[in-house]
């Protein structure tokens, strides 16, 4: 390249840079001004409401930019509840999906670390007792204590469930109080109704605070009930925090092998609906009374 040519080229470039800089400065000035202005202006609190992100159907959500084949992708995605097709921001998540995971986790945590409300217990006429645990913290770290009761609570249990009853229904908070509040009140009447059709009446329902599954063995031990059905909150996942299980056992006592319990899990509106689960549980109870067995012994 000739020197003259080079000079012209450099000059042109410098000129371009300068003008574009000028342009930039003007822009910056403008935006500084507008920011300063907006600070002095009143912030308008609008009347709107940000929509509930938990209502977004993540199975249909698609955030991949420039996907090669969006239609087939959505079809693939419809085969799994996994959080697919979420795109990315660099090697990190998009804000929307990140917030949704945090929200779902928050719901799960709150259902573990909150208590079933007193109103709920009263409204349903449950008789409340408490295991050896004195706090949620002790409950999650000491499974042994969540299976046993102090003497004064055993007294209440004895007074509530008449000795040698045929069937007793017990509700325990377990790892999700949200699951109990969402399902127990619907499931119990459906269970009682089926049992009543077979001339079996069920007495008052016990509510056990800080309850592990083994608490039903302690109750069986002092009441000598034929069949106990324990409704208990499951450890929540991110898909739902409202899943409840029913553990049913024939003459449960301390040391009952886990295999001798019959379990109906996944009771929630997206799984087995509580009314349906109630009828199913009642039928299982009737079979257990007839065969004098539960769990693997039923097979």
């Amino acid at each position: 390249m000739q020197e003259a040519e080079l000079r012209t080229l450099v000059e042109e470039m410098v000129h371009k840079m300068l003008t574009s800089n000028e342009h930039h400065e003007i822009q910056i000035e403008k935006s500084v001004k507008s920011t300063t202005n907006s600070k002095t202006q009143n912030t308008v609190i609008e009347d709107g409401c940000i929509p509930d992100i938990s209502k977004v159907d993540i199975r249909k959500q698609f955030l991949v930019e420039n996907a090669k084949d969006k239609e087939t992708y959505l079809e693939m995605k419809s085969k799994t509840p996994a959080r697919l097709g979420i795109g990315k921001a660099g090697a990190r998540y998009k804000t929307e999906t990140m917030l949704r995971v945090r929200a779902d986790h928050a719901a799960a945590q709150d259902s573990v670390f909150s208590d079933v409300s007193e109103e709920f217990i009263e409204k349903n006429g449950f008789v409340k007792v408490q295991t050896l645990c004195n706090s949620k913290d002790e409950y999650i770290t000491r499974p042994d204590k969540g299976r046993r009761f102090p003497g004064n609570q055993l007294e209440i249990i004895r007074k509530t469930i008449p000795e040698h009853s045929k069937v007793a229904i017990v509700v325990g908070d377990g790892l999700s109080s949200a699951a109990i509040e969402a399902n127990a009140a619907e499931m119990i009447p459906s269970m009682k109704q089926t049992l009543q059709a077979h001339q079996i009446t069920v007495g008052p329902v016990l509510f056990v605070k800080y309850c592990r599954v083994g608490a039903m063995d302690a109750i069986g031990e002092v009441t000598d009930t034929d069949v106990i059905c324990l409704l208990v909150g499951e450890r929540p996942g991110l898909v739902t925090a409202e899943s409840m299980s029913a553990y049913i056992a024939y003459k449960p006592k301390h040391g009952l092998p886990e295999a001798k319990r019959t379990v109906i899990s996944n009771i929630h509106k997206g799984g087995t609906p509580p009314v349906e689960a109630g009828a199913h549980a009642a039928e299982l109870i009737l079979t257990m009374l007839e065969k004098k067995a539960s769990g693997i012994d039923l097979k």
Binding site: V64, E65, N66, A67, K68, D69, K70, T72, Y73, M76, K77, K79, T80, P81, A82, R83, L84, G85, I86, G87, K88, G90, A91, R92, Y93, T97, V101, R102, D104, H105, A108, Q109, V112, I140, T141, R142, P143, D144, L175, R235, P236, G237, L238, V239, A241
Partner: protein
């Protein structure tokens, strides 16, 4: 062997070596549940002081589960290299710690000494290390293993693609596989935790994995993490698998609770070598996790860190391709919160490497634990600094089958970028070919589009 010390004027007398080992642990809810933890912060330090002066021979002569009663103890003791052990048996735990950390001690030196260590020694030295000690020491050691590709080389960070599905729907599983691959996940393994442990279902999924591996020519490994006996049955009936998986414990009783013994694992390994689809020689995959022995009452009164170290001693006998601690899955009864999970993850990774196995980590938590996504992201960052071989890769970290949260596809990608690491070389080249990553291994704008692989 001295089991007594005075600290701040108080005398601390420990019952036996097992008592010292338990009380020298950092606080863990599982040791408290077992009733063996230090009762005060000062007692914990007193136990560490006593442990620091214990000689390695005392640790060898006092395994936490007796030799006569336990095949895990027998395997660990019988596999020891006697001349190496004899050369170091009079070292104290404190001396071993400082030797590992010493700037003149090389990776090769550590790997040699490793052959003279029992799991109790490995656990003991971990108990005298701070979190950064654990990272510093572990970062000196790289353990590689070869199945179809070689995992663990310096400059790499790998991921197991975990495409779990609540009903094992093969199409749903494949959707997660394709998307994971497009994020660069799956160089360690494409491995499913099945809901259905039947031979038929396991075979069906393995065939799908094998088909996609061959059709897309993916340089990786495949496995379905059913019970070891189910996988063996599947292989005998012609199912294609590269690796055989099993969860293991640090005592024979714990393994019995999992439904196998050492002989089962050796048979499985021979079967994989003779009838599996992998190049080998490393064809086994094990998972561990502090607290599993206590949960099956198979801990024999020992603490969860020592029992965990024994898992690695057992694993090493079978030359595994992958071993990972599923730290945080077991629940708050054993690891209370994010802090305890982090500590356990760093301990396990260090102990696994010092033992000589290819270590990864399922950095995870359940929803009844005081931890969140931040806790495990922190742990993954720390473990990458420590030179961890691999993490799990799950869509957005949310496992829709096991109902817990772990690291997502995005996490390994981000960690590779932060630390300047790549996937295993042939897999990196495969990613390059599909333009999911650039030469440096960073995700491109095409990453995360599963439909690009259709």
């Amino acid at each position: 062997m001295i089991l007594k010390t005075v600290l701040f004027g108080h005398t601390y007398q420990f019952k036996d070596l097992k008592d010292v080992l338990a009380k020298a642990n950092e606080e863990k809810s599982g040791d408290i549940l077992a009733g063996i933890a230090a009762e005060t912060a000062e007692e914990r330090v007193a136990a560490k002081i006593v442990l620091s002066q214990i000689r390695l021979e005392d640790l060898r002569n006092n395994p936490v589960v007796p030799y006569e009663l336990d095949e895990v103890t027998r395997i660990i003791q019988d596999d020891l290299n006697e001349p190496i052990y004899n050369a170091i048996k009079t070292w104290t735990v404190s001396e071993l710690r400082e030797w590992i950390l010493d700037e003149n001690t090389t990776e090769a030196d550590i790997k040699k000494i490793s052959r003279g260590l029992t799991s109790e020694m490995v656990a003991a030295v971990a108990k005298l290390m701070s979190n950064m000690d654990l990272i510093y020491a572990a970062s000196k050691i790289r353990i590689t293993a070869h199945c179809n590709t070689t995992i663990g080389k310096r400059g790499t960070l790998s991921a197991r693609l975990q495409p779990n599905h609540p009903t094992d729907d093969p199409d749903g599983i494949m959707a997660s596989v394709l998307e994971g691959l497009s994020y660069g996940s799956g160089d360690a393994l494409i491995g499913l935790n099945p809901v259905d442990d039947s031979t038929q279902s396991v075979t069906r999924i393995l065939k799908r994995f094998d088909e996609i591996k061959n059709r897309l020519q993916i340089p990786t490994q495949i496995c379905v993490l059913a019970h070891v006996t189910t996988q063996m049955d599947a292989i005998k009936k012609g199912a294609p698998t590269d690796l055989i998986f099993q969860s293991i414990a640090g005592s024979e009783k714990g393994n019995t609770a999992f439904g196998f013994n050492a002989q089962t694992i050796e048979e499985a390994r021979q079967l994989a070598l003779t009838h599996g689809t992998a190049e080998g020689p490393n064809v086994m995959y094990f998972e561990t996790g502090q607290g599993s022995e206590l949960s099956s009452e198979a801990h024999n009164g020992a603490d969860q860190v020592t029992m965990e170290a024994r898992c690695y001693g057992f694993a090493k006998h079978f030359s595994p391709f992958l071993v990972n601690t599923v730290v945080g899955f077991i629940g708050p009864e054993y690891l209370y919160d994010g802090r305890q999970v982090s500590r356990a993850g760093l301990e396990d990774h260090f102990m696994g490497k010092l033992t000589g196995v290819s270590m990864g980590c399922d950095a995870c938590y359940t929803n009844h634990m005081k931890a969140d996504q931040n806790s495990i992201e922190d742990l993954a960052v720390l473990l990458t600094a420590a030179g961890c071989n691999y993490f799990m890769g799950i869509p957005h970290g949310d496992d829709v089958m096991l109902n817990y949260q772990t690291t997502g596809y995005h996490e390994t990608a981000a960690l590779r970028e932060i630390y300047g690491l790549k996937a295993i070389q042939p897999f990196h080249e495969w990613l390059l070919k599909h333009e999911f990553v650039d030469q440096q291994g960073r995700l491109t704008c095409k990453a995360g589009d599963a439909s690009a692989l259709l």
